[in-house]
């Protein structure tokens, strides 16, 4: 769409015979928080680095503000990066690290000092200016790396797994802070992560990547509720992927016909249902739920809920995430149960 801040068109990056990026096209809106999500080797970091200018694409274009920047060297691009290992200059103090960008622009000394003080306050690190990076904890280094990037007021902030090295608790806190900072600054964020929870928690939109391609792009809810492939369904959240055959244009699971039209889908299809959408016990009479009989294989107590593993007529296993309550509390291992889910919560995925 015209008017988007970043337009990436048909981007290909080949290393020998291997394509790290295999025709990626994506538009990012001004002020958006976009997550690039995928396992290692999916091309997300290569995509980020081609926006930063460290990877020269084999084919395709990177445009920022309508201008093709393929040939613009990294130091002239209106983007800044928060590196995965922070990449703080070890021989400089925190203040000198943060002042590195403004000084390159020839900002007057007094102005640089003010900018550094402001941005350090913004990331909650005021008073740390005279320290050296090695004297800081991982979380503090992370904040300095962030400050060093945003002090330049880039049009786009690129973040390469910035929280990857932090422990879980700190990571959760930094997620909230980053999200808040994003709102405050109004800068476009492109955030690389392999952690789907992190992507869901922070991003306006998520681009799920696989083997150098974008498998699906959309809001977290879109992708979670309506994944377009087995790969995406499996990568985002937990999913039951039930292999079915197709009979007379309908899904068939071990002789039980399921109410999903799959005309033209071939002989086999996969039905996806999230564990939390599966309920145990008697189905409601309205809303045409899908009901299956199953045998309980295992039951695991999770605190707020139970995880029930049940065998379906087709011998496949299905996991259900059931809130504690009478129905599930009395289910015994080996017992027969009835499962149901609202019809619209099941999704038929292409093979």
């Amino acid at each position: 769409m015209a008017g988007d801040l970043i337009e990436i068109v048909g981007l290909v990056k080949r290393y020998g015979a291997v394509a790290a990026l295999d025709g990626v096209s994506i538009n990012v809106r001004q002020g958006e928080f976009l997550a690039l999500l995928g396992p290692s080797g999916c091309g997300k970091t290569t995509l980020l680095r081609s926006i930063a200018g460290f990877v020269e694409p084999t084919e395709g274009q990177v445009r920022i503000g309508g201008k093709v920047i393929n040939d613009v060297p990294p130091h002239e691009r209106p983007v800044n990066t928060v590196f995965q290992n922070y990449a703080l200059f070890p021989h400089m103090t925190v203040a000198d690290n943060v002042a590195f960008g403004p000084r390159r622009k020839g900002t007057p000394k007094a102005e640089v000092a003010k900018q550094v003080a402001d941005v350090l306050a913004m990331v909650g690190m005021d008073g740390y200016g005279e320290r050296y990076p090695r004297q800081l904890s991982g979380g503090q280094q992370q904040r300095i790396a962030l400050a060093r990037a945003i002090v330049n007021q880039p049009q786009v902030l690129l973040l390469d797994e910035p929280l990857g090295a932090l422990d879980l608790k700190l990571r959760k806190r930094m997620q909230v802070e980053l999200k808040r900072l994003h709102g405050q600054l109004g800068i476009t964020f492109i955030y690389v992560t392999h952690d789907q929870e992190e992507a869901l928690a922070m991003a306006d939109r998520i681009a799920v990547m696989n083997q150098g391609k974008i498998a699906q792009i959309g809001t977290g809810q879109d992708i979670y509720r309506a994944p377009n492939s087995r790969y995406v369904a499996d990568f985002i959240g937990e999913a039951n992927l039930i292999e079915c055959t197709v009979k007379n244009g309908r899904l068939d699971l071990g002789g039980v016909t399921l109410p999903y039209d799959v005309a033209g889908a071939g002989a086999r299809a996969t039905l996806m249902i999230r564990p939390e959408d599966i309920h145990l016990g008697a189905p409601p009479s309205d809303g045409a739920p899908v009901v299956l009989k199953a045998t309980v294989r295992d039951k695991v107590f999770l605190g707020s809920a139970w995880r029930v593993y049940a065998a379906l007529p087709s011998v496949q296993e299905i996991a259900a995430h059931a809130a504690s309550g009478d129905a599930v509390d009395h289910v015994a291992k080996g017992g027969a149960i009835e499962l149901w889910w609202p019809r619209d919560r099941g999704r038929v995925l292409a093979q």
Binding site: F54, H75, V79, T81, N85, A87, F89, G101, A149, N152
Partner: protein, 278 residues
């Protein structure tokens, strides 16, 4: 980690014993000898002789002058070479090949290499012949048997020490630091001056110390390439021991060279430390 006291004794003891046997004792002997007089008495007269005779000051000055030039030239040639090998040679096989080419001369006798330079730098040598045929000069340059000739020959021998020392430091600089500098708006040249070079200083310091001390004590190369026309300290010491057989005076020269070298290095390190703090 806890270390068994016996293994600690062994770990520390072996190098300490080595140092005592092969350095402290011989050097102590040299130091003691330097105070010995031909009549069997003891005196500091040898030191007085060195301190008051301009000839020895001249030799000392020439020694350090040549060593400084060698260090400077080796740094100016070796640093870019180390940088290129580290950052621009992507192919690991090619990189290994270049390392081998750099290290191979170390396996050759320095006598052979010095004679090689005699052939190259002589009046009818390849350097002069080439310059003449290009009509850049009309009569052969006198390179051999000058300070310049000694510096050239020694710089060539010292180069591997600088390249290997600097390259090993450069290799350990995280490339993401350079990317960060570029990302923050630094032109490649600025990124080098502000990030790569400061971070490689330990290699530069170590390399220049190694080259300087080796150059100060070098004997074979300067004595062959000087043709007897220039005299550095190592040649004087050798003369006293091997020709004049004045062991006490040779010892005095050796002690004087060692002490003045140590003073220079201490001064150098002091300046660096001041600079690093300031």
């Amino acid at each position: 980690m806890r270390i068994n006291p016996w293994s600690a004794v062994l770990l520390l003891g072996v190098p300490v014993a080595f140092l005592i046997i092969f350095f402290i004792v011989p050097f102590g002997t040299v130091a003691v000898t330097s105070f010995r007089m031909p009549d069997g008495g003891w005196s500091a007269a040898n030191y007085e002789k060195i301190a008051t005779d301009a000839y020895y000051w001249g030799a000392l000055y020439l020694t350090f002058k040549i060593a400084l030039w060698v260090t400077l030239i080796v740094l100016l040639v070796g640093y870019p070479l180390a940088y290129t090998i580290t950052y621009n040679v992507r192919n690991p096989l090619l990189r290994r090949f270049i390392y081998i080419v750099i290290v191979t001369p170390l396996f050759t006798s320095s006598i052979v290499r010095a004679f090689g330079w005699l052939v190259l730098l002589g009046r009818k040598g390849m350097v002069n012949e080439t310059l003449m045929s290009l009509e850049l000069i009309d009569k052969p340059l006198q390179i051999l048997f000058t300070e310049g000739g000694i510096v050239i020959g020694m710089a060539y021998i010292m180069l591997p020490f600088m390249v290997l020392t600097v390259a090993s430091i450069l290799q350990n600089i995280n490339t993401s630091l350079l990317e960060a500098a570029r990302d923050l708006g630094a032109h490649p040249v600025v990124a080098f001056l502000k990030v790569t070079f400061p971070l490689s200083l330990p290699g530069v310091i170590a390399g220049s110390l190694i080259v300087f001390t080796l150059s100060v004590s070098a004997y074979v190369t300067p004595s062959i390439l000087s043709g007897g026309k220039k005299t550095v300290m190592s040649m004087l010491i050798y003369q006293q021991y091997a020709a004049t057989l004045n062991f006490p005076f040779g010892a005095t020269l050796a002690v004087a060279l060692l002490v003045s070298t140590l003073l220079l290095i201490a001064g150098y390190l002091l300046v660096i430390e001041r600079h690093a703090k300031g």
